[in-house]
């Protein structure tokens, strides 16, 4: 089944046209997307660095993850909402954009990884400072970096 009709439908909604036809809406939404990325980067890194045995080592992984979780949720919500708006406005263009496809696959992968493997590694009863945690932290950073790299490439392609 081709996704082209879905992409075309997205492209042709009134919301998409409004963003597309505005001189400043797309750049401003993109700016907010970047701000959310910044917050996401901080909330993810502080936990991933800890999993790697770096940064705030005097706190347990579980305590740190719990402390930044509200901010992580805010960041992901903002990044998804602005991301959907950016996508809608140029949906037809993104259908043929390999970096966009790569970004969506990496984003799905990191969400799956975060809610399964990483969620287990940051639980209160998880043993800390072991090789498993370091690998989880490294994979998380690599996956998020891939999302960011592919995302930045969308505009270059």
């Amino acid at each position: 089944m081709s996704l082209l009709p879905f992409f075309t439908w997205c492209h042709n909604t009134a919301l998409s046209a409004a963003i597309r036809d505005s001189l400043w809406l797309f750049p401003v939404i993109e700016g907010v997307h970047l701000l959310a990325l910044t917050l996401l980067g901080g909330a993810v890194l502080i936990v991933d660095l800890r999993l790697l045995g770096l940064g705030l080592r005097r706190h347990s992984v579980a305590a740190l993850a719990g402390d930044v979780r509200p901010w992580l949720r805010i960041a992901i919500t903002a990044i998804v909402v602005t991301g959907v708006l950016l996508f809608m406005s140029q949906a037809r263009r993104y259908y043929d954009n390999p970096p966009f496809t790569a970004k969506m696959i990496a984003f799905a992968a990191v969400l799956l990884f975060t809610t399964t493997v990483k969620a287990r590694a940051v639980r209160g009863d998880a043993p800390s400072g072991n090789t498993h945690q370091r690998i989880v932290g490294a994979i998380s950073i690599l996956l998020w970096t891939t999302v960011g790299l592919a995302g930045r490439s969308i505009g270059f392609y």
Binding site: G41, R57, G148
Partner: protein, 165 residues
């Protein structure tokens, strides 16, 4: 022509500046590194600002965050400065004439002054409020000013590319 305008034009005529401006991959690569550096530098700096505002990591002493996390923040900052200077070097005349670039520079100076004031005043008395979730007013002001300035810097930075013409 003023001295500064002549200087910028001279920089822009350097073969290395022209090569950077016209490169198909190097310029986008530097720009991408600039965005990744943003996550490392500003992401962690935002967490410190939120801590100063009493909104995040309330169980973490401020001095511990500064000692254990700020080195990473500085590494990110170094990456931002190097890549940022290279981007500017690639087209100095156009950047300098771009109103969003000018706004960004003013906000960068403001953010720098704010950080300098924070470290030379209320942070000197860190021992008295290090572990409290309720931070002194001066620390909250510093955190708030920093958040606003950096949000403006990111937004203005993104807008530079939309205002070339």
């Amino acid at each position: 022509m003023t001295t500064i305008a002549a200087l910028l034009q001279g920089i822009g005529e350097q073969p290395s500046s022209i090569a950077l401006r016209e490169s198909a991959w190097v310029y986008p690569g530097i720009e991408t590194a600039h965005v990744l550096g943003l996550c490392l530098f500003l992401g962690l700096a935002v967490l410190l600002d939120l801590r100063l505002l009493g909104g995040a990591l309330r169980r973490t002493p401020v001095s511990e965050f500064v000692a254990r996390v700020m080195p990473w923040t500085w590494a990110g900052f170094a990456l931002m400065v190097v890549t940022g200077l290279l981007l500017f070097y690639s087209d100095p005349v156009r950047f300098a004439g771009n109103v969003f670039f000018q706004i960004k520079v003013v906000l960068l100076v403001l953010a720098g002054l704010n950080a300098a004031i924070f470290h030379t005043t209320v942070y000197r008395r860190i021992a008295s409020w290090d572990t409290s979730a309720a931070t002194p007013r001066a620390a909250r002001v510093a955190g708030g000013v920093s958040l606003c300035a950096w949000a403006g810097i990111v937004l203005a930075g993104r807008m530079i590319a939309y205002n070339w013409f």
